[in-house]
């Protein structure tokens, strides 16, 4: 893998402004929370994926780095709009001399509306919330990453915080309208995609909040699943750690496959995810 290109990617990613108030949003699982009305927030996440065996005829050995930049705008107190812009660098080794290549480009964008339609705030921090999701994958027509198709997305997400415990659950269905000949990621093939996610967050510290206590540590355990209607299925176990202050948060986690049944795209060996969220 070209280490210099990775450093360039990291520098570009670090230079982008970041802020977010998607509190209680786990590392890989959405939450039924959103920015306040009129506020714009950004979240940035760096994901390194080491792919394993490739069941397709291409027999590829792939490493991939993605910088995900999410911009969200609060339209009302319960409705927001977000845009995901993923910058991707991929290093692909193929059998035979001269067949290795690297590509840097922009993966398809995701425009998503989130409407919190139900909310019960039980105490100072305790809350239960449900939100509906409706969105669209927008092609970038990148030669190496785009599917070249507009694909609608619908879904729902639940978030609950009870004391030191937090739970998020989400399901999203993508109606894929186009595909790549050489899919690598879920949703790039000729099949609709179901994303299903569960996250449990536990606040290690503090035991109790106070006026002077302005930060918190969380342990996170997630299950992130991908089911495609062509039969490909993947379930990832994703433990992680989050630190949250009043104006910023940091996260780090790994993703390990616990079940993979893939015939059309490479399996994942492991992934490392780090991210920062800032609130201005």
């Amino acid at each position: 893998m070209n280490f210099r290109r990775c450093l360039v990617c990291a520098a570009i990613g670090a230079a982008l402004p970041v802020c977010s108030t998607h509190a209680q949003e786990a590392i890989n699982t959405p939450a039924a929370t959103q920015p306040a009305k009129g506020k714009v927030y950004l979240r940035q996440q760096l994901r390194f994926v080491r792919f394993g065996s490739d069941p397709s005829d291409l027999d590829r050995d792939i490493d991939q780095v993605t910088f995900l930049n999410r911009i969200a705008l609060g339209l009302t107190g319960s409705l927001s709009l977000s845009l995901d812009v993923p910058l991707t660098y991929r290093d692909t080794d193929r059998p035979g001399p001269g067949n290795d290549d690297t590509h840097f480009g922009v993966n398809d964008l995701t425009l998503m509306a989130k409407w919190r339609f139900w909310q019960e705030d039980l105490g100072p921090v305790d809350t239960i919330r449900f939100a509906a999701l409706a969105g669209l994958m927008i092609p970038t027509y990148d030669d190496d990453y785009s599917t070249d198709g507009f694909s609608p997305i619908i879904g729902g997400v639940m978030t609950t915080v009870l004391g030191r415990h937090g739970l998020n659950a989400s399901a999203r269905w993508t109606f894929t309208t186009d595909s790549r000949r050489d899919p690598v990621m879920p949703g790039q093939g000729k099949a609709d995609l179901l994303n299903y996610d569960f996250a449990y967050l536990y606040r290690f510290a503090p035991e109790a909040y106070s006026e002077t206590q302005t930060d918190a540590w969380y342990g996170v355990i997630e299950l992130n699943g991908f089911y495609e209607t062509n039969g490909d299925h993947q379930l990832l176990f994703s433990p992680g750690l989050m630190f949250e202050a009043r104006t910023w948060a940091a996260e780090i986690g790994v993703q390990l496959p616990i079940a993979q049944d893939l015939d059309r795209r490479p399996e994942m060996d492991w992934a490392l995810v780090v991210g920062l969220r800032f609130l201005f």
């Binding site: 609060g74 107190g77 004391g163 106070s210 206590q213 949250e244 948060a249």
Partner: protein, 126 residues
């Protein structure tokens, strides 16, 4: 042995009852004002008249986490007449210092908290 089991069941019920508060009033306003003991008074959340105090204490529910608290902090600071905001996540109390000449109304605070995505339960003036 039976009494022990019954006691355990009652204990568990009490614990889970304590985990949840009363019926949800998400987004709704408290219709009545009142007088607490001492020098505090509560204000109806729909009241549009300027608050007659230099300090207002808002009880907000659903804050969730430190970043959430800063969300409501940010929103309240955009209300005309607000000089300072301090959030206590432990109690849900948001202490707001008000300017001398420009005073927001309870309805202004209710709207700001609602626009932040949380529930305003009560406003006390000090």
């Amino acid at each position: 042995m039976f009494k022990l089991h019954a006691l355990a069941v009652v204990g568990v019920v009490c614990v889970f009852s304590g985990c949840a508060s009363g019926p949800s009033e998400s987004g709704s306003g408290q219709a009545t004002a009142g007088q607490d003991a001492g020098s505090r008074s509560t204000v109806a959340l729909t009241d549009r008249s300027p608050l007659d105090a230099r300090v207002a204490v808002l009880t907000v529910n659903g804050l969730g986490c430190p970043l959430c608290a800063h969300n409501v902090d940010n929103k309240l600071r955009t209300v005309a007449g607000v000089e300072d905001v301090r959030v206590d996540l432990g109690t849900g109390e948001v202490t707001v210092s008000l300017a001398e000449l420009i005073r927001p109304s309870a309805a202004d605070f209710h709207k700001a908290v609602t626009d932040s995505g949380f529930t305003l339960r009560r406003i006390e003036l000090r």
